[in-house]
């Protein structure tokens, strides 16, 4: 989308916005929850995420946002939906195997991760499988409710080194 490229290449600025929004929402959410009906809150959140994150990150609404761990680059734009780094098909010009005119999402993510501040290096975290049931729900609400941090129960039986 035009205009957002400039922002996308400023992951440091974006991670600041992310961290700020997170703190603000965590502060406000208990109040919101008390005064607003849940269905309404969900609708408003989904709508505002579609608009804002749609513009900024070409967000695909997976409902379990890991942007801050992927150089503020949405990994769900990878046609293979990879969550843990680039596939082996990246073209010599750094473009995607599947969509030749698109730069590989993960090449960008790795470059941007290196420019980040507080979340730099998080790209090496092993991300669990995507919970497909959360598709099209609000990632912010899932974060506030903890619904995005529940990998399948077998997944956590091995400790990460």
């Amino acid at each position: 989308m035009p205009g957002s490229e400039w922002l996308k290449n400023r992951p440091r600025l974006l991670e600041g916005v992310y961290a700020g929004s997170k703190s603000a929402l965590q502060l406000l959410y208990p109040l919101l929850k008390r005064v607003l009906p849940a269905a309404f809150t969900e609708r408003v959140f989904v709508w505002s995420e579609e608009v804002s994150k749609g513009y900024l990150f070409n967000c695909q609404m997976c409902g379990q946002c890991i942007l801050h761990s992927t150089g503020m680059t949405c990994p769900m734009n990878c046609p293979k939906n990879l969550r843990n780094g680039p596939c082996g098909g990246v073209r010599q010009n750094g473009h995607c195997e599947v969509i030749p005119e698109m730069p590989c999402v993960w090449v960008q993510a790795w470059r941007r991760d290196a420019q980040m501040g507080r979340y730099a290096g998080e790209i090496q975290l092993l991300q669990p499988p995507v919970n497909r049931a959360l598709q099209n729900s609000s990632a912010w609400l899932n974060l506030l409710e903890g619904a995005d941090a529940q990998p399948p129960s077998g997944w956590s039986t091995i400790e990460l080194e």
Binding site: K80, R83, N84, G85, C87, E97, Q124, L126, G154, E161
Partner: protein
């Protein structure tokens, strides 16, 4: 026809015990050789055995591809089961393109029951690379999810849901690495992540660019990765400059430097095939010297007959224990 008096005997199909023979070879410190089976477009097991015949005597493991290049062939589980039954050491390639997590875990159990011990966990080429580009791509898992899930099934004896397995599979787990495509300076980090997820061995994409491979290995060694994983370098003979051109432009992830293509182009027509084999042998001789390289993986697409010659000329032929 089913005869009710005869209870079927498990016979050959009893769960084969014993760990991976490929692992034993690597643990013993030998330079391992694996090769890729050309999976047939056929329903006849004889076609698998015909293709495997050239490879069996010179290889420590034989990979059955999983619809590589997104073209349909006999399934990798079936190819592996047929090989295991005949005493070969199969390496099951499993990609994430065609199955969701339920099918993946089911296939892993089935393969183990059929005698498969080695699993190479892959992302998989996209459907657009093959002759049925209109297919739906699945990619429910990525290669790291697959690796770790296989490891959980083996080590914890549970499925991803947490449900218990009566007999867990005994796998030697592998992953792919492609040091030759961008971001080349960061590819070792992906290797590290795969090792963390459970990779015990690595088979790389075709290596035709030694300087790039050497710097990848240097970075991997700096992280100590060469001591945590067995690394087999992918190699293969090129038939001609046209084959090379085709591979580097059409097959996802294959990088062939101009110098290699030129060398084939300058070779007279009749000697091109031999020159391709010579290049392959030279590369093996080079990578053998690199610290952290534990073997080679020979992908001789439709040139299986060249594999024994390559192995012999590169000086990596060993007496194989009887099948």
């Amino acid at each position: 026809m089913v005869n009710s008096d005869q209870t079927p005997s498990p016979g050959d199909w009893e769960l084969q015990s014993g760990e991976s023979r490929l692992l034993q070879v690597l643990e013993a410190g030998h330079f391992a050789v694996t090769a890729e089976l050309n999976a047939p477009d056929s329903a006849d097991p004889k076609d698998v055995y015909a293709n495997v015949a050239e490879l069996g005597d010179v290889c420590d493991g034989i990979n059955a591809t999983d619809g590589s290049g997104a073209n349909c062939h006999m399934s990798s589980v079936a190819c592996c089961a047929l090989m295991a039954r005949a005493g070969y050491e199969p390496v099951l390639q499993m990609g994430c393109r065609d199955r969701n997590r339920i099918a993946i875990q089911g296939d892993l159990l089935g393969a183990a029951a059929l005698g498969v011990r080695n699993v190479l966990c892959l992302t998989g080429d996209d459907v657009s690379a093959g002759d049925q580009p209109e297919a739906r791509r699945v990619f429910d898992f990525d290669a790291l999810h697959l690796l770790r899930t296989a490891r959980i099934m083996r080590d914890q004896g549970v499925l991803l849901s947490g449900r218990k397995l009566t007999t867990p599979p005994d796998f030697f787990l592998g992953a792919a690495a492609n040091p030759f495509v961008p971001p080349q300076d960061l590819r070792h980090l992906r290797l590290a992540k795969k090792i963390e997820a459970g990779a015990q061995f690595i088979q790389t994409q075709y290596c035709y660019d030694l300087p790039v491979f050497e710097s990848f290995m240097r970075r991997a060694r700096d992280m100590g990765l060469h001591e945590k994983v067995y690394l087999l370098v992918g190699v293969g003979p090129l038939r001609s400059e046209r084959a090379a051109e085709f591979m580097r432009s059409r097959v996802p992830g294959v990088h062939i430097p101009d110098a290699v293509v030129d060398r084939l182009a300058k070779t007279p027509r009749k000697r091109k095939r031999a020159e391709g084999i010579r290049i392959c042998v030279e590369i093996i001789e080079e990578v053998k010297q690199i610290e952290g390289v534990h073997g080679v993986h020979i992908m001789a697409y439709r040139q299986e007959e060249a594999v024994p010659e390559i192995v012999e000329r590169a000086g990596i032929l060993r007496e194989k224990p009887k099948k």
